[in-house]
């Protein structure tokens, strides 16, 4: 019941705002309630270990095939649920009262719907709703970029992300349909993920069949995670999106693709992965090395952050490619850590945008003495992002790397990929420290106008930093919920 509440509280709040309730306050109330409920769910998961689904509910919609609107959480869903409620709370918190054009309703409804969609997707026990909830969350994303985005080309950007993610979803849908029709027969037709996984384990589809179903699934999910070379939608979209939307999409919604691969593709089609392992290793290195270099060459802070987020997804894919619990748990921890840290970075970037006339790195400088709180927080966020010990990001990266070398007496393809991927820690330090140095240190830039806005929302910033430190010092808090 509690999961149903968590999924539908944002929907109800969105409806209330639609009917005239006060925008920001209602949204914040809903997000705060969800945060508390989420912590209750997590404490229960920690107690029970997270191996099994708990808080399961279901409403049967169709008998045959078995289609149910049902929710439950195990460790992995729980971690993502926690991520979603934290980022939602922070994103709603940093949103201003009114949209730039003075309107209120859609501006506060959209984040809530995205949140509800993500929560539904992460907690659905049913394959159909896993897909459908994610689609639900995408629509407000597109609308918000198109309506309230930054920059002159916001419409083009909205169009691009629409096409991109639309195509990705379509490919994914094709894969899901193929998976469904190969696994089920007329008598045993079901959309239940746990049932499908059990069927896949006993049935053992042919290598060849697995191979060709895995491909669209991986590509479809992959495009949603900005897998190289399908990544070019992400940076412009995040640079253009309103702060709360960038936080929610980069921080939470993007993780849906990784979740899907870990929840659906890997357990149901293990041989399918083996068939494509080489290609996948190349693509994930594309994310880390190639996009890493693209990130270095960025001239604007927001674009740089967007690209950095694409780059880090490569590590999550690397964790998945380990095909062992160390790598997979590392990937889940990575989703959590990256989700919080990128949301934090976009929140800070949003604050800078409100205060500055430009985000061009060469035009800014020496801000540390003018906005000390922002400088210190950005320092924390940057350190987290480049994977310094003490932050959850480091714990996840090191876990993934150890997963790649687990029991490896020799250096095979996976290990070679991991070594190359490790160069990414140098690349990310290059662009992050360069940006930090340009924005906050050194001389104050000439002619830079610093618009003083009303006081900064410190609470969500501090909350996110604390979460990153807490899970960085004690990663077992998260890891103990995951299977090993």
């Amino acid at each position: 019941m509690i999961i149903d509440l968590i999924v539908f509280i944002p929907v109800i709040a969105a409806l209330a705002i639609g009917l005239g309730a006060e925008g920001r306050k209602t949204a914040l109330g809903a997000a705060g309630a969800n945060l508390i409920l989420g912590l209750i769910v997590i404490s229960e998961l920690m107690r029970k270990g997270g191996e099994e689904l708990i808080f399961e509910t279901s409403t049967v919609i169709l008998e045959n095939p078995k289609l149910t609107l049902g929710f439950a959480v195990d460790g992995m869903s729980g971690v993502l649920l926690l991520l979603t409620v934290i980022v939602t709370f922070c994103a709603v918190y940093v949103s201003p009262e009114k949209a730039p054009d003075g309107k209120v309703k859609l501006y506060h409804i959209a984040p809530l719907l995205i949140s509800a969609g993500a929560l539904g997707a992460f907690c659905s026990t049913d394959l159909f709703f896993l897909f459908a909830f994610h689609e639900l969350a995408l629509i407000p994303t597109f609308l918000m970029i198109g309506l309230y985005g930054h920059g002159r080309d916001k419409l083009a950007v909205a169009w691009k992300i629409t096409i991109y993610l639309g195509v990705g979803s379509l490919i994914l849908l094709g894969g899901l349909i193929a998976l469904y029709s190969n696994l089920t027969s007329a008598e045993s037709a079901t959309f239940n993920i746990a049932d499908l996984t059990a069927i896949a384990e006993t049935m053992q589809l042919d290598q060849e069949v697995q191979k060709w179903i895995f491909l669209p699934l991986f590509l479809g999910f992959g495009i949603l995670v900005s897998l190289f070379p399908f990544h070019s939608w992400a940076a412009p979209a995040y640079a253009s999106a309103p702060t709360s939307i960038a936080m929610l999409h980069a921080g939470v919604l993007k993780k849906f693709g990784l979740y899907g691969i870990l929840r659906v593709a890997m357990p149901m089609l293990p041989k399918g992965f083996e068939a494509w392992e080489g290609l996948i290793l190349v693509l994930l290195l594309g994310n880390i090395i190639y996009v890493g270099f693209v990130t270095i060459s960025q001239k604007y802070l927001d674009r740089m952050l967007g690209n950095s987020s694409v780059m880090h997804m490569g590590y999550a894919f690397l964790g998945i490619a380990c095909v062992n619990h160390i790598g997979w748990n590392g990937a889940v921890l990575m989703m959590f850590a990256h989700g919080i840290s990128i949301a934090l970075l976009f929140a800070l970037c949003g604050s800078l945008r409100e205060r500055l006339s430009t985000l061009e790195l060469s035009e800014i400088g020496g801000l540390a003495s003018k906005v000390p709180f922002l400088a210190v927080s950005f320092g924390f966020a940057a350190f987290a992002s480049i994977g310094l010990p003490g932050f959850a990001n480091f714990a996840s990266e090191i876990t993934i790397l150890f997963g790649a070398f687990n029991g490896a007496g020799e250096v095979g393809n996976l290990q070679k990929a991991a070594i190359l991927a490790l160069w990414g820690v140098v690349i990310s330090a290059v662009y992050m420290l360069r940006a930090y140095r340009n924005v906050f240190q050194g001389d104050s830039a000439q002619g830079l106008t610093l618009v003083r806005r009303d006081s900064l929302n410190k609470i969500p910033i501090i909350l996110m930093i604390v979460v990153l430190l807490l899970t960085g010092f004690f990663p077992n808090l998260i890891l103990s919920m995951l299977p090993s």
Binding site: L62, E135, P229, I326, N329, P475, N476
Partner: protein, 612 residues
């Protein structure tokens, strides 16, 4: 909670409270940090007297399946010596900083950084496994970054901090690969467990891979201990406040590479090829850095290059651990020699840096030695301690450096070429230090700032005097036998080697004295040395080519190929299909709605088919 864990965590608590609570009360936060350093020093004495050094405490950080990463404490032998160096010199530097940074606007931030450093450095010393070592390895890097960039509004300081961090990251890249290779081969990162597997012949490692692992781990030391070719960050790091240079960039952090190698001694012993690389990297660094030191004009830069050179000595000595001599590897003898020099060097080099700090403080932040002069009359105590430290560094009997240099040369004697290089470096060391002393302390004052210089306050003199005692006596048996027995340190056989080395040092001093006596500017400029073999310039070009150019190309590919062709192509395709099917113009959101609609229809179709 064990004493050791308190020593580890107390500075972290101090750093956090300084950052969070005390930013407005700078003096109080300086006190908190210094007090925590003092307590750590006292507790360290307690730890040294403790009989049982097993079970110092352990905390499980990450556990998944076979992967178990702990924050666990292992401490014996050299580790005890190292923790004393860290807490003792750490405390003295805190004390000195109270004076040196008295009027600094960012005092709370500074002391917060110092405490963070103490925490990180203690973690390196205590680490019982490679992963923990790496964690604190990165953290000392952070504290070093923060302290080098303390005056962040200065462009040079901001750049130097960034450079230090990035160059270290390159070394850490190798270090991590080494750790991963070891983990792959042995299924553990714990020092005791790896050594056990190695002795029992367990673990599925092969010799070649092991050599690579050791080489990769050594890359970490190349970065942190600033060995060639990653040495370029250390001279720039002198942008940081001088007490920081004394603590981090002379006595402790940069020596962490040497200390880390002594911890993985059992790996070096079975990796002769990698060991050989270690010896030569050390020797080359010792030589190149000493050459560059002879032509620097900034007092701190001279000391920085000197540090590089001495670190090269230590690294070279530890590398000999893998050398077969008479059917057995030199092993512990070699690494003890390297560590012995680390130990004595910590005292006299910290003294030299703090002394230079006192001089800079007295000369109104003048750092150019050619603007100083005649300071011996105006700063008697500082000059006296500085000259003692110089003699110790030059290896003059009976000061501490004499003994440790003997130990290193005894080991180096196993390879004649390295013995020759080492001896030449000894000459250069005596030479450039004499040059510095002659120019700074004797002759006439060459600027108003050195004319007006007067002795620094007592708070800053106390650390100098304490370190002077260390610089004099650290080489005596009683000063080190409590952590490593004298018989385990190589001593030269007979008096030939010590006599020759002393003669070399004296020759260096005489040469320096007569060449620089009474000069007011560099009489023999050698461009290639003062410009540091043009390595910085070469590196900038390399970065331009391999990073910025590649990045630019990648960006163009992203813009033109992937974004241009691929995406626009697909977009057009979808639009075309859309307009064909609907016979109408395609808008932004309609396009998506269309695709979504197709999806829903397909799902419904499948459901329908399944039911039917």
């Amino acid at each position: 909670m064990t004493t050791a864990f308190i020593i580890l965590l107390l500075p972290l608590v101090a750093a956090a409270s300084n950052l969070l609570l005390l930013r407005k009360k700078a003096n109080f936060s300086a006190f908190v940090s210094t007090f925590s350093a003092a307590i750590c020093l006292v507790l360290t004495f307690g730890l040294i007297r403790q009989d049982d050094l097993n079970n110092l405490g352990s905390f499980n950080w990450i556990k998944i399946a076979d992967l178990k990463l702990d924050i666990g404490i292992e401490l014996h032998g050299l580790g005890l010596g190292m923790i004393l160096v860290v807490t003792l010199i750490g405390f003295l530097v805190h004390l000195f900083s109270l004076g040196y940074m008295r009027e600094d606007a960012g005092k709370a931030r500074y002391f917060s950084g110092l405490s963070l450093f103490m925490f990180s450095m203690t973690g390196i010393v205590f680490a019982d496994n490679l992963a923990m070592m790496f964690i604190f390895w990165e953290l000392v890097g952070v504290s070093s970054y923060l302290l080098i960039g303390h005056w962040y509004h200065k462009n040079t300081a901001a750049e130097a901090a960034k450079k230090a961090f990035l160059v270290n990251r390159i070394g850490d890249f190798g270090f991590m690969i080494g750790i991963l290779l070891i983990w792959g081969s042995f299924g553990s990162v714990n020092f005791v467990e790896i050594e056990g597997s190695l002795r029992n012949g367990n673990g599925n490692y092969d010799k070649g891979l092991l050599n690579w692992s050791v080489f990769c781990i050594f890359c970490g030391a190349i970065g942190k201990s600033a060995q060639v070719p990653l040495h370029v960050w250390l001279p720039d790091a002198m942008e940081g406040p001088t007490p920081v240079s004394a603590l981090i960039h002379a006595a402790t952090m940069v020596a962490a590479g040497v200390f880390m190698l002594t911890k993985v001694l059992f790996l070096i012993e079975v990796a002769p090829t990698a060991a050989s690389v270690i010896q030569y990297v050390g020797a080359i660094t010792a030589l190149i850095a000493a050459l560059m030191a002879t032509q620097q004009n900034d007092i701190k830069k001279i000391l920085a290059y000197s540090t590089l050179s001495q670190l090269g000595y230590m690294i070279m000595a530890v590398g000999f651990a893998g050398l077969l001599s008479g059917g057995e590897v030199l092993g512990e003898k070699a690494s003890n020699a390297g560590f012995f020099h680390l130990y004595t060097h910590a005292f006299f080099k910290a003294l030299l840096f703090l002394g230079s700090g006192a001089i800079i403080y007295a000369c109104h932040h003048e750092q150019n030695i050619w603007k100083m002069g005649g300071l011996i009359g105006r700063m008697k105590v500082t000059s006296f301690t500085f000259l003692i430290a110089t003699a110790a560094l030059a290896g003059i009997y009976p000061l501490s450096g004499f003994y440790s240099k003997d130990a290193i040369m005894t080991i180096a004697a196993n390879k004649p070429l390295l013995l020759v290089i080492g001896s030449f470096v000894a000459f250069l060391t005596a030479f450039y230090m004499t040059r510095l002393c002659v120019v700074v302390f004797f002759g006439r004052a060459r600027s108003w700032s050195s004319e007006e210089a007067k002795e620094v306050p007592l708070l800053m003199l106390v650390p100098l005097l304490v370190l002077t005692i260390g610089a004099i006596f650290a080489g005596q048996t009683f000063a080190y036998s409590w952590f490593v027995p004298s018989k385990d340190i190589p001593h030269p056989e007979g008096v030939v080697l010590p006599l020759i080395l002393t003669a070399i040092a004296v020759a260096g001093i005489i040469a320096g004295f007569f060449l620089y006596r009474g000069r007011d500017q560099e009489p023999y400029p050698v461009q290639v040395l003062s410009r540091k073999f043009y390595l910085d310039e070469i590196y900038i070009i390399l970065v331009r080519i391999f990073q910025d150019a590649v990045a630019w190309v990648a960006k163009q590919i992203d813009r033109l190929l992937i974004d241009g062709l691929l995406v626009r192509g697909v977009a057009r395709l979808v639009t075309e299909i859309g307009s064909v099917l609907r016979g109408m113009q395609s808008g932004n959101l309609q396009g998506y709605a269309f695709l979504f609609g197709v999806g829903v229809i397909l799902v419904l179709y499948i459901i329908n088919a399944a039911i039917g």
